[in-house]
Amino acid sequence: MSPDKEFLAQLQAHERIIHKVCRIYQDDLHDRQDLFQEIVCQAWRSYPSFRAESRFPTWLYRVALNTAITYFRRQRRRRQADPADISMRLHPPEDPYAEQAERMYAAINRLSPVDKAIVLLYLDDCSYEEIASVMGMTRVNVGVRLNRIRKRLREDCEEPDTTL
């Protein structure tokens, strides 16, 4: 299999990672799509450096987070909401936790870019070692930061949300 095809196959298998990163770092639908293309482009460029020392998802998380955190585009005049987000608000799924998840999602969106990355990796069941390797931190640092983030999210979710 040629390297391009091999890369595409790997990317297709882990496409959801890019979708997650795009969703958490951009609010606007067009910005999300642009960021998606940018991550694919950056992953394609740096794929030769992937030497299977780490798992492909871990490597892809690194590339995607690096691109998303340093993705600076001029703010669009009109923001276009993602239809998936709207339909979720208008027709919430039959889930007792849906409203709380919505509130938690909003609270995560208010975190700093670095904290968002840690939460994203944590939600994907990455171990502390993996999070530390992707972020370039120590394992202890990851643990302390996650505790702080949990505390902050708890406080944010308890407060009545006035932004909506």
Partner: protein
Amino acid sequence: MELEDLKTQLNRRLEGPVGAGLPDLDGRPPRSHSMLLRLRRNLWIEFGLYVAALCLIAIQAHRHPSTAIRIFNITAAVCMVALMVKLRQVIRRIDEHLRSGPSVRDHLASLLDILQAYSRKYLYLSVGFALFFTIYMILLEYLFPTQMQGAVPPSGTAEVPVWVFVAVAFVLTLLFTGLIYLLARAYIWWMFGKHIRRLREALQHFDQGPED
């Protein structure tokens, strides 16, 4: 409600497609808006311009009758080559950065370093160019004074003293160089100021240790 309790709901919410599909990679890199790629392209354009300027300086140094101007041109050419070497180093660092897949912290630090290195080089280059250009013009005017067409040649009694010429030249050099420095700074701030600030903020966030 804790983060752990909502893992499934949040994952489901985040995993939804964002409306963009994977492109066909037929050996060509997909179109990118990356700031680093744009910077790399600009650096190559600048590099080409310096090569052209270097050729002109070399021709001038070869042909000009005045030894002072020739020595001045050769010095300028040497300085320019040194700057081009530095510029090439920045390009090489960008290439290395684009090829590697570093951790988030290393990526931010490396990107900030590249932007700061480029900003410094751009400022040095602009100020150096302004200095060179002003001194060159003044030297030319001193060695080969221009005369107004049809004007009567000076009789020799109304010549400008050397110290006045030097003082005026010094003030003009200072003014022009200062102006170019300010313009270059404003340009750098407009191009990368926001990026540098955000990168510094993100790195500061990383450096807040667990004991803080």
